[in-house]
């Protein structure tokens, strides 16, 4: 326990306390909340946001941003479902889905890093382009999964030993891998350095452009994995999938202490941010409170979290 506490550094500990409070409040308000079934349910649902949030945090840490991930979610599920429907091969579909994700990451990164257009604008444009392309291809109808492979179904819906959702396991493994990469590899530390102080990183001889490009690719790649889980859960490539997804991710990550200014924050924090928002939305749902309140709650949380971050930084100046 002591080790865990040390691991969650001061800021993260505060978040963890918030999480516990939310958890306890909901446990008392709804008898269904604190049941194994519900908790497992939440862990499966949140893995979609969690995995994308990991990639998004890596990119923010490197000092860039990608708000096209929501549209990307809808976009890459098309090659996934279509390939499966046509070839009957799940692995081929998954590979193609990930390849498309990587390609989009490369395009975003190329325009932002090599052509010098602000990544916010590039990915804002990409948000339009991908969504338009999705509407165009699908004719604004969902493309159903006709293969009905058990394997594919289990990715998003299956449970290990009947209790732990596979999606949650995938999310946890990816989280642990990237926590390790960001903390303990020179690659991860270089991403922090580039986002934290680009000039110092340049003087240390880093290839800043390549590092940033790789972060764009990681972000798109992990979002594509989220897309696979989502497609498995809803059993189709849906043209409206991922609507407002980017904003949910921003809210969670910023809440988790990852700074929009780059170079600051941890994946542990981001994960706790996702956890808090997921638990709030689950709890509100169980209490039959309008799901639209989630948006309001997210918006208020962003302002408070970022405003607090700014105040803290101004004071330390």
């Amino acid at each position: 326990m002591n080790n865990i506490l040390r691991y969650l550094r001061k800021g993260e500990l505060a978040l963890f306390v918030i999480f516990l409070i939310v958890f306890v409040v909901f446990s008392f308000s709804s008898e269904y909340f604190f049941t194994l079934r519900n908790i497992m349910n939440v862990s499966g649902q949140m893995s979609i946001i969690l995995i994308a949030a990991i990639g998004f945090s890596v990119l923010l840490i490197a000092g860039e941003v990608d708000i096209s991930i929501g549209s990307l979610l809808a976009f890459v599920s098309i090659p996934l479902i279509e390939t499966m429907n046509i070839t009957g091969s799940v692995p081929l579909g998954i590979i193609l889905c990930l390849v498309f994700g990587i390609l989009i990451g490369l395009i975003n990164g190329f325009f932002s890093v090599y052509l010098g257009v602000s990544s916010l604008i590039v990915t804002l444009g990409m948000l339009f382009i991908l969504r338009g392309a999705v509407y165009l291809y699908t004719g604004q109808r969902a493309i159903p999964d006709e293969l009905m492979s058990d394997f594919f179904f289990y990715i998003g819906n299956g449970k290990f030993m009947g209790t732990i959702p596979y999606a949650a396991i995938i999310g946890l493994v990816i989280l642990l891998v990237f926590i390790f990469v960001m903390r303990n590899t020179s690659y991860g530390r270089k991403l922090y350095a580039v986002g934290g102080n680009q000039e110092v990183a340049r003087l240390a001889g880093y290839n800043i452009k390549l590092l940033k490009l790789s972060a764009f690719v990681i972000c798109s790649f992990l979002s594509s994995i989220s897309a696979i889980i989502l497609a498995s859960r809803i059993g189709s490539a849906n043209h409206v999938a991922g609507d407002l997804f980017e904003f949910q991710v921003v809210a969670a990550v910023v809440l988790g202490g990852v700074s929009l200014a780059g170079g600051i924050g941890s994946l542990t924090g981001a994960a706790i941010g996702v956890l808090i928002l997921s638990v709030i939305s689950n709890g509100l749902g169980l209490l039959n409170i309008d799901t639209q309140w989630q948006l309001v709650v997210n918006g208020v949380i962003i302002i408070i979290a970022v405003g607090f971050d700014e105040l803290k930084r101004n004071r330390s100046l």
Partner: protein
């Protein structure tokens, strides 16, 4: 003539080419109905874009305009339905918009939150709370003819939205080009320290920029509600991105310091005529999303190159 700067003449040239091309392709392009429809849908964008031009000139941005506009359609319809008074509907709308603009501006200046994040959060809050306000679309049950006239009527054979836009337009052309406030906005966007050291109260003008933009969203929202004859939660979704893309295309800089209302108008006309062309040429309508996306990236890319050259 200093009025049309070189950038604006390029846009004007592109616009003319588009018109000529489309009229050859499909003579329907020049039908009164088609022109009315282009102008009518352009006007709602333009009205909001006037405010966005000011904001971008002063180095800020407002992503909440689309969500606010949807909210406005709901409020105006609901309040008029209940009260039977257009005046009360308008008071409610502009009171609400004033409040939202103030909050945006104060979060930006007092809490010092980057306006991109601040207004993104506001967008989420508005998008959620409009459903909290009313889950269903609100239909016109008051049937007041004057209200329908706002969006659907004609004055001297000109669609009313265009008339409203034309009434507002000169005010902003004058504001940005001929008054000290216009100079202040560009000084603040170009070099905030120099502006402050010239005795300008930067924060005050930034708040004013956000408030003006929100109020203009109120105007456009009322027109939209009248046009649709409903108040609908998602009616202006993605509107913010179209407005921003058009303003940037018009030559206003994303980095602040340079803004032009005429350029903004030309930018919107180009986007809207491309939209119209997509329909006339029977190209799938989904390209109406893709084209502004591409144009946005290219416009900012060329803006960057232009800046590099002028430095």
């Amino acid at each position: 003539m200093k009025f049309l700067q070189s950038n604006e003449s390029i846009l004007f040239f592109i616009l003319a080419l588009l018109c000529i091309f489309l009229s050859f392709y499909n003579p329907q392009f020049y039908s009164i109905q088609n022109i009315h429809s282009i102008l009518r849908s352009s006007s709602t964008v333009m009205i909001v874009a006037f405010g966005m031009t000011i904001l971008l000139t002063s180095g800020e941005v407002d992503l909440s305009v689309g969500a606010l506009m949807s909210f406005v359609t709901v409020i105006v319809m609901d309040v008029i339905n209940i009260s039977g008074s257009i005046a009360l509907g308008l008071i409610a709308v502009f009171g609400f918009c004033l409040l939202i603009g103030l909050i945006n501006g104060l979060v930006r200046t007092v809490l010092n939150v980057n306006s991109l994040i601040a207004t993104l959060a506001m967008m989420l809050i508005l998008q959620g709370s409009v459903y909290v306000y009313s889950m269903a679309a609100i239909y016109n049950t008051h049937l007041i003819p004057l209200f329908s006239f706002i969006g659907q009527g004609f004055f001297l054979n000109i669609p009313m939205p265009v008339v409203i836009m034309l009434i507002i337009l000169p005010f902003f052309v004058v504001l940005l080009n001929f008054t000290r406030y216009g100079r202040y906005f560009s000084a603040i966007g170009s070099n905030p320290d120099a502006a402050k050291l010239s005795g300008i109260n930067n924060n005050r003008y930034k708040v004013i920029g956000f408030v003006i933009t929100s109020l203009l969203v109120g105007v456009s929202g009322v027109i939209l509600a009248s046009l649709m004859d409903t108040g609908q939660q998602g009616s202006a979704k993605g509107f913010e991105l179209i407005v921003i893309a058009a303003v940037l295309l018009g030559g206003t800089s994303f980095m602040g310091g340079r803004g032009t209302i005429i350029g903004t108008i030309l930018g919107i006309l180009i986007l809207k005529i491309i939209d119209n062309g997509i329909i006339l040429m029977r190209i799938p309508q989904e390209f109406q999303l893709i084209v502004p996306g591409v144009i946005l990236i290219l416009a900012v890319y060329f803006d960057g190159i232009r800046r590099k050259n002028s430095d």
